[in-house]
Symmetry: C2
Subunit: 681 residues, 2 copies
């Protein structure tokens, strides 16, 4: 039961790291890279910056008031990854804990004097989440002991007060510790933190109380609002409390807030947050592509919330949003080499960022940085990727549900399944029964996948033909609607289910109330949002307009489509080379067979490349699934005033623009980028 | 020579407060209200907040690190207004000055330890500007003595260092003090401050050095950039230095930067600044209406810069931008009662602001506030309005130029002119010669005024017909092009010049590179930008779209069009009632005569209204020149995701939307507002 979220009730039960093991593939590669590169990268920077030294009592103290939490997020990542560096780091933390359980390197000696900005309970929240991870992956040890002592301290100190923390997270942490230990006071403490918020519980701040969701009791709020990470962490904790206390009203309140935020305050990428100033959601339909904040941590928090709502309700819409955010925020936020990160994830970058090898003092999104003054995002990525298998599949009394498609194996009771897919590059998903059992197997059909088909039955003669599925021997081939495609059966080893998702690229248009996107169009393919990226001397993007009368043109993805490395010129993968070992990618049924379509500028495979130092074993070319769109490329024009008495008709030359998956952008150096293209015709 | 800017050379010489006296009218009313209400309002708040007390040595010190500058801006306002409160306040300031001229209530005892954020030279700059104002309006006194001692201190301390201030303004202040006193070292100090900037002279900050224009030497910069007020103050000082040192290259550099910023980084209102985060310009074509920062002080600074460039070059484009900013930023930023202010001036407000009677801790632009934690804007408005007559007209060897049209009298040598106009409500401008002289009289024809006509000659029988000009007796009637309409003559008393500017409302469309405005249209009329405002239960603006196939419909402005008070429900004018005394408004030639067009919701004049407590003497209705546009009013729609596979076609009911001048918005209580309307057809 190795799960970051393990509700005691709900429609679905998550399958944990012990039940879901990912193979090389889109997520499997990233998880391996995270374990082998990113976790060490984070630890190295936390030492360098002195944030770990703070626990050793080094003076002067370094870092922001919440820097302790970065070490805790990293400890959580280490716990899920079963990383060997954990015990020593946990011991360093443990030594700084005071006799009564208090632990904070910034506020020791001056406890609880600033609830608005002090982040003390926030830090505990992350410490407790690390403790839960350790408890579930390993069992009791120094870290779990520290976490429980901290939780006990919180309960003693705050059970009967009206206080809370300016930054939520302790709520979901306490519920999870209750779930992991059965200690009821942790749940009660979390419940009280939830209920006292918005009475109000905090002081007035310049941003206003909505910033930390203290403007209204959570039951009365209509939408997610204020600081996006705070809002989403709080909502996650509220779902946890609602589920454990059986509080349907509370659950419905969060569902309604989520629904409205998704309908009006969410970027196409799934990213949330429209304002840089206070890292907040902004208002309904305020969704600027250029100033989209879409903080990486908000994306992660959104995945956490959607996952909780999925478990509580079984509704596929939550998994749809989680998937969108996984592929277009989480996968975007970390570089292909696992060593640099986006803090903000805008959908438009007009001016290439200046490369930065050191600490980024800002939180802009033009180029990934190795570290930030506020480095929540790298550590949050690390802990999320380390626990990601636990988000993929669930079970209920009737069987197993597969929500996200990536190569790996899933076991539940006697049933063992292997998932083989090139998703998100190809739409074919093969679920093969390794060990039999009876029950329903459900596969999520994403909302965009109109016309998906499902076939199942005993495997045909396709076993060795990984590149193409022959379903002629199968029974039950049928079209399936978005939601869940459910197949009930008494499964025997060798049985297969084939889901084919339509992967043609598609135009996507904004709601007319989104002022910032009016007259624009984006391209999506499967779960991926695409973008135009312009590096160095490539054509500028300031004045292109899409000719939507021509459909976007897809290229057949090559066998390296799911490799982490784009181009030889990319940041090199430090280790492990094996993380990028090729796995055969099935082609979607009906797609043309053929060689990878070479991409101009991406040289052919170099068979002499050294796997130890080169980008990866195997050919390092054509990994990107490009899409081409016909565009009008504007001719440079100048005028002395940008407002005119007549509409500004597009002018320029017709050409073709290549789009790359949004999550790939910014890996070739400073670039301009845009997801939304003006419509020319 | 009572001028805030008095260059020793340049194409045009400004006429000062001693040469330009405004009568009741758009600006005359506002200047009177400023003198009688706003200046006292600011002083009252500065006492209440303890910022004046800081000069008395009260502890703990109150306010932000730059609060001294607010008292100086207020002193400058008092100086231009010849306000009786000046001597006592100046004495309070003088007593805080140290023996060597140092004066700062925040940093005394800890001088010059933070050039990036300390604002010490910035504060001196405003002190010196106040001193110059006093010197020119009154002559030597305590305030001028303090200012000169501070300037001498600066020269001793900084002449041979490489330091400068994170916030420019001292540059233009020192040049002006040089102009007022002839002391050359002030100019040399200013020149050095300009030249050392960008070498760099300041430390790195999280916003980056472009924030305070220290990223590049001023001669090398391509555009105005970074913090808008800082950039515009610096550029103003650079023009001053360039003009006084005859440095053509430096002047050209600022002209080019201004040109690019106006072409790509300026809102339709003339407002500058697109980002809240660092109050900065943002990038080319990044001009979001909703998150337009368009700080009031940046608008004022832009007027200051444009005025300097106009004096240096005589180019009408500078006066065009100044006019746009005067009517749509400066006039907007202060409430009709002179007691509350906008800090930011966005072009779209989606959610009505919460009324606030106390200090506004934020700088949002949804509702005017009586005071702010950072209260630069109210004091800046006060000093700008107090000196505004000095921006209206200039002279050169050949005659007089009138750049801005508002009722008043202008004298230059033997020539005395009276300007009569209802501008900006009506397009007729009558310049009447009161006292003769020979020379050219030039009237600016704004860039938008295609088809303007000019007539001149001896007055006909129209003297008493203020409502309509009969030009049949005049000679020389002709169409005039945008720029300056020049009439040379040997002027006799009674001679007149009639300029008729076309005032039909017009659609205005954005450059196609402005992503945030794509597919939208605005309405302008004369120099005024219009907006839709929705108060209380009026129709929402979230989903309206303009039918541009129908032209906007103008209403004949009523006689109260230039009154400061909109509606009986408005904030009441505290004093003086006389500030709003009606002045007859000439109708533009060719416009239909007729009674004011009653506006629904604005009751007819109440003859029993008490002028002392009512909004104003005279009828209080129909003061707003409304414009009607045909719109499609969207039907409320909900969907669970704001992105779709097909373009979102406008749907709804056809109706008529009333637009009001942008500068009037927000005077009827919390409201939503939009300048840019989506195009329906």
């Amino acid at each position: 039961m190795a799960n970051p979220v393990l509700p005691s009730s709900g429609v679905l039960s998550p399958l944990g790291l012990d039940a879901v093991r990912l193979a090389p593939g889109f997520w499997g590669d990233r998880i391996a890279l995270n374990r082998d590169v990113t976790i060490a990268h984070c630890q190295e920077w936390e030492e360098r910056e002195g944030w770990i030294g703070n626990f050793r009592g080094r003076l002067p103290r370094k870092g922001r008031e919440f820097s302790d939490s970065e070490i805790y997020k990293l400890l959580e990542a280490m716990a899920w990854a079963d990383h060997p560096a954990l015990p020593e780091l946990a011991e360093t933390v443990a030594r700084a804990q005071e006799g009564d359980g208090y632990l904070n390197t910034r506020w020791t000696g001056n406890r609880y004097t600033d609830f608005e900005w002090g982040h003390e309970l926030y830090c505990y929240g992350h410490l407790i989440q690390a403790g839960v991870a350790r408890l579930r992956m390993h069992g009791e040890d120094r870290l779990t002991e520290v976490a429980k002592r901290a939780a006990d301290h919180i309960c003693r100190r705050f059970m009967d007060t009206s206080e809370t923390c300016g930054h939520p997270v302790v709520e979901m942490a306490l519920v999870e510790l209750y779930r992991a230990t059965g200690t009821a006071r942790y749940l009660e403490m979390a419940r009280r933190f939830v209920e006292r918020r918005g009475l109000p519980a905090l002081g007035e701040i310049p941003f206003g109380r909505a910033y930390f969701q203290d403007d209204l009791p959570v039951r009365r709020a209509q939408s997610l609002r204020g600081h996006a990470v705070r809002a989403l962490y709080l909502a996650s904790g509220v779902v946890d409390v609602a589920v454990e206390t059986g509080d349907e009203e509370l659950l419905k309140a969060v569902e309604a807030q989520w629904e409205r935020a998704v309908a009006r305050r969410t970027h196409l990428t799934g990213g949330m947050g429209s304002r840089h100033t206070d890292e907040s959601f902004g208002e309904d339909y305020e969704l600027p592509p250029d100033r989209a904040y879409s903080e990486t941590c908000a994306g992660i928090a959104s995945i956490m919330l959607a996952h909780r709502l999925l478990l509580a309700t079984g509704d596929a819409r939550y998994a749809d949003v989680a998937e969108r955010t996984l592929y277009n925020v989480l996968a975007t936020a970390v570089a292909l080499d696992g060593r640099s990160f986006f803090y903000a994830n805008p959908l438009r970058v007009r001016v290439p960022a200046v490369p930065l090898n050191g600490v980024n003092h800002a939180a802009e999104g033009g180029l990934r940085s190795p570290w930030f003054d506020v480095s929540c995002c790298p550590n949050n990525i690390a802990r999320t990727l380390a626990s990601l298998p636990a988000y993929m599949a669930t079970s209920d009394a009737g069987g197993v549900q597969i929500h996200h498609f990536t190569p790996g194996e899933i076991s539940h009771g006697p049933l063992a399944l292997r998932v083989e897919t090139g998703y998100p590059w190809t739409g074919g998903v093969r679920v093969r029964v390794l060990s039999g059992g009876s029950g329903r197997i459900s596969l999520r059909v994403p909302a965009w996948a109109k016309g998906a088909t499902l076939a199942y039955g005993p495997a045909g003669d396709t076993e060795s033909a990984a590149g193409g599925s022959d379903i002629s021997h199968m029974s039950g081939s049928r079209e399936v609607e978005p939601g869940y495609a459910v197949v009930a059966g008494d499964w025997q080893p060798g049985d297969e289910i084939h889901l084919d998702l339509p992967m043609a690229p598609r135009w996507t248009f904004p709601d007319r109330r989104v002022d910032a996107l009016r007259g624009s169009v984006a391209v999506e393919r499967g779960p991926l949002v695409y973008c135009a990226e312009s590096v160095a001397d490539e054509p500028p993007l300031a004045d292109v307009a899409a000719r939507i009368s021509s459909p976007p043109i897809d290229h057949e993805p090559g066998p390296q489509a799911d490799h982490l490395v784009d181009h030889p010129a990319d940041h090199q993968v430090g280790s492990p080379a094996g993380a990028s070992a090729a796995v055969p990618v099935p082609r979607a049924a009906g797609s043309e067979a053929g060689a990878p379509d070479p991409v101009a500028g991406a040289p052919a495979a170099d068979p002499t490349a050294d796997p130890a130092t080169g980008p990866a074993a195997g050919p390092a070319v054509d990994p990107v699934v490009e899409i081409e769109v016909a565009v009008l490329l504007g001719t440079p024009a100048t005028d002395n005033w940008p407002y005119r008495p007549v509409p500004d008709a597009p002018e320029g030359v017709d050409t073709v623009l290549r789009l790359v998956p949004y999550h790939r952008w910014g890996n070739r150096g400073p670039a301009t980028m845009r997801v939304w293209l003006p419509v020319a015709d």
